[in-house]
């Protein structure tokens, strides 16, 4: 069925999102920086290397266990900057607010943003507010953009993975997506699960302190671990092989995924990263990650192989292997 209208799956972070990007946005906005399709643009401003990114947040519900839309808006942009090895510096915040939105809720959200910005060491230096008629937006949407500085010598990109490199995951997967699902109207189920929403810039700096051989960093948000690994495999022209038994999944997340028919590999995270590191430095980087509170459950989950190029393989509990594809148009609820 060809789409002449935007459907929800176009925002899933999967194949339809890519179609939209390639067939619509890239056609009108094309330039060499954008074409790299990283989560941030790397700019050279008078000899200074700057990372620049933007993201919009439309999560429903806006308050959830482990955070809210405000914390998410700061952490998401801080993390996108951090995945280039940048030190995030300044953030903008733009709000689209539905008429009738409680001021107390707005105060809660801005308070969360302040705390998250303090923890990440960034300042919110510019912004904008729009109020729309009731029904024209769902409560509140936030857009944040950010810039960060990249030290010379750092070259981290989704296209740098090399055969033999190790793949490190910074902790359990699917926590954010399931925490959100468990609070959605009509699906409330009792769980102690918290969103993993967190700023990862310090974790990245801890890693960069111990190794100059970090090739790729990505945060597996929309589309989950599977989608991000596929992006790295395609960008670098390599194969990635991961072991199911090495991927940490909380029992509560696993159980909820069973109930909902989800695969944790595709469920969103907001405080995790994937690192591709030269095998020589992998253990050293892992050790540094485990010392940081946001990396204590880090694991080496697999390695980079030569073929099949552009594909991600999973070695299952049974020792069999299967292809892990990108997320294909599943209609998951708004998670970020």
């Amino acid at each position: 069925m060809n789409h002449d209208k935007i459907i929800l799956a176009h925002g899933s972070g999967g194949k339809l999102s890519n179609d939209l990007l390639k067939n619509i946005f890239l056609k009108d906005f094309t330039n060499p920086i954008l074409e790299k399709l990283d989560d941030m643009a790397i700019l050279n401003l008078n000899g200074v290397k700057v990372a620049f990114t933007t993201d919009s947040y439309v999560v429903n519900p806006i308050f959830f266990n482990g955070g809210d839309i405000g914390k998410l808006a700061i952490c998401g942009t801080v993390n996108d900057l951090s995945m280039s090895g940048a030190v995030p510096k300044y953030i903008s915040a733009a709000f689209v607010i539905e008429e009738g939105f409680p001021v107390d809720d707005l105060k809660k959200i801005t308070g969360s943003m302040r705390k998250a910005a303090e923890e990440a060491g960034v300042e919110i230096v510019t912004g904008d507010t729009k109020v729309v008629e009731k029904g024209s937006a769902d409560k509140i949407f936030i857009n944040t953009a950010g810039i960060g500085l990249i030290e010379s010598g750092i070259d981290i990109s989704g296209s740098n993975a090399k055969v033999g490199d190790r793949v490190i995951l910074s902790g359990t997967i699917g926590d954010h997506g399931i925490a959100i699902m468990s609070r959605r109207e009509g699906l409330e189920f009792k769980t102690g699960l918290k969103s993993d929403c967190a700023p990862l810039n310090q974790l990245v700096q801890d890693m960069l302190q111990v190794s100059e051989k970090i090739r790729c960093l990505r945060d597996p948000t929309r589309g989950g671990l599977a989608t991000i690994l596929n992006e790295i495999a395609k960008q670098s022209g390599v194969s990635i092989c991961i072991k199911e038994e090495k991927i940490p999944v909380k029992e509560g997340v696993g159980g909820a995924c069973e109930m909902l028919g989800f695969d944790p590999l595709y469920v969103a995270n907001e405080g995790k990263l994937i690192a591709v590191v030269d095998s020589i430095d992998a253990e050293k980087v892992l050790k540094a990650m485990k010392k940081n509170k946001y990396g204590k459950d880090s694991q080496i989950i697999g390695e980079i192989a030569e073929s099949p190029k552009g594909k991600v393989l999973l070695k299952t509990f049974l020792g069999t292997r299967r292809i892990i594809d990108v997320l294909v148009g599943e209609q998951l609820p708004r998670i970020c």
Binding site: M1, A9, E245, L318, V328
Partner: protein
């Protein structure tokens, strides 16, 4: 909560695989009836560890996939009727009918909402007294009791603007229909776990008794499925045909009698059309006469355009076990999960979606 790791233990799996290889001599075809089994088999690469003489075929056990085009067309027509809020499980949103899908109609402006339970639909009806709220009742015996309960609850609360459009179906009559068609010679059925938790094991006894085909009710973890295959192989090699429960933590021989009572109170058996199979007598569930005030198929007089099948789509043969997804010329080319032509590619539990996502053969690994 250790249930997940226990049923994925590589040591236990290895022993089961060795047992199967040791005792399995005859070439056999086993059909997993349930879509969740299909996904689990593909996801865990179970076909890769079985000896070559054991073939696994997928059956008509994904309720989304077996919903006929005509029923989807009627659902869409009801959803577009004035003053209607149409509610559905998410799986049905993208299934193409003859001309469109609920997802496309939602983008066109029809008020179509995904719910996670019938009680959500009931809540929407209570909160919107000026609207007619219709729930698209798709599923097997697993979900039928919850839908029956929503009808009883609507009656108790005097909610007059809640209706269901039932295309509910029962699994054993479809298994009988497949056997009567005789297109595929089966040696065993891996029977569905969730359906059996409701209906028990007795409804399958005719399969063992009249058709001499082995049946094992299985859970959904890799160990569950390997154990059920091991049990089926033992039956076949011993020349036996009986119904066994391999999923004892979820299924008893009598099933959930309370759920059965609620189902019987609200629903009665009716003829139903299954995609790829046609009309199977007494295989559907329609509301009894005393509940027909809740029956959307009687309340809404809508124009439904003539049903049209999708050219080249092999979903029907795939649902009957006659073809594998790879045998369909549209598979992975014109028909993919993001641009599905047939329902087996749309549903998360459809055979084609499972084969597409997990079933790709990887050379040299």
């Amino acid at each position: 909560m250790r249930y997940l790791s226990e049923y994925r233990d590589p040591t236990i799996a290895k022993k089961l695989i060795e047992d199967i290889k040791k005792i399995s001599k005859k070439p056999v075809k086993f059909m997993e009836v349930c879509g969740t089994h299909t996904v689990s088999i593909s996801k865990n690469g179970i076909r890769q560890v079985l000896p070559e003489n054991i073939s696994l075929l997928s059956g008509p056990g994904c309720p989304v996939c077996v919903t006929a085009n005509g029923d989807i067309d009627k659902a869409i027509a009801i959803a577009e009727a004035p003053g209607v809020i149409f509610t559905t499980f998410g799986d049905m949103m993208k299934v193409p009918g003859s001309y469109s899908s609920l997802s496309e109609k939602s983008a066109d402006g029809a008020d179509i909402r995904v719910v996670y339970s019938t009680l959500d639909a009931l809540k929407i009806a209570k909160n919107n007294p000026d609207k007619k709220v219709v729930f698209f009742a798709v599923g097997f015996e697993t979900t039928a009791p919850t839908i029956a309960l929503s009808i009883l609850e609507a009656e108790r609360q005097g909610i007059k603007n809640y209706f269901i459009y039932s295309v509910h179906k029962m699994v054993p009559p479809a298994m009988a229909a497949l056997l009567n068609l005789g297109e595929v010679k089966l040696d065993g059925f891996i029977c569905p776990g969730h359906v059996s938790a409701i209906i028990g094991s007795k409804p399958y006894e005719f399969i063992a008794r009249d058709h001499k085909i082995s049946c094992v009710i299985a859970g959904f973890e890799p160990i569950d499925i390997l154990q059920s295959i091991s049990m089926l192989v033992k039956q076949v090699e011993n020349g036996e045909a009986k119904v066994e429960i391999g999923y004892k933590r979820g299924v008893s021989s009598l099933g959930n009698t309370k759920a059965q009572e609620v189902m019987k109170k609200v629903f009665e058996a009716c003829d139903a059309e299954w995609r790829g199979i046609g009309v199977i007598p007494e295989s559907g569930l329609s509301l009894r006469t005393n509940f027909e005030g809740f029956d959307a198929s009687k309340i809404f007089d809508v124009d439904v355009p003539p049903t049209k099948e999708h050219l080249g789509c092999s979903c029907g043969e795939i649902l009957r076990g006659v073809k594998l997804p790879y045998d369909c010329k549209l598979f992975g080319k014109a028909c993919t999960p993001e641009n599905p032509i047939g329902p087996c590619m749309v549903s998360t539990e459809g055979s084609c979606a499972a084969y597409y996502r997990y079933g790709e053969v990887v050379d040299g690994v």
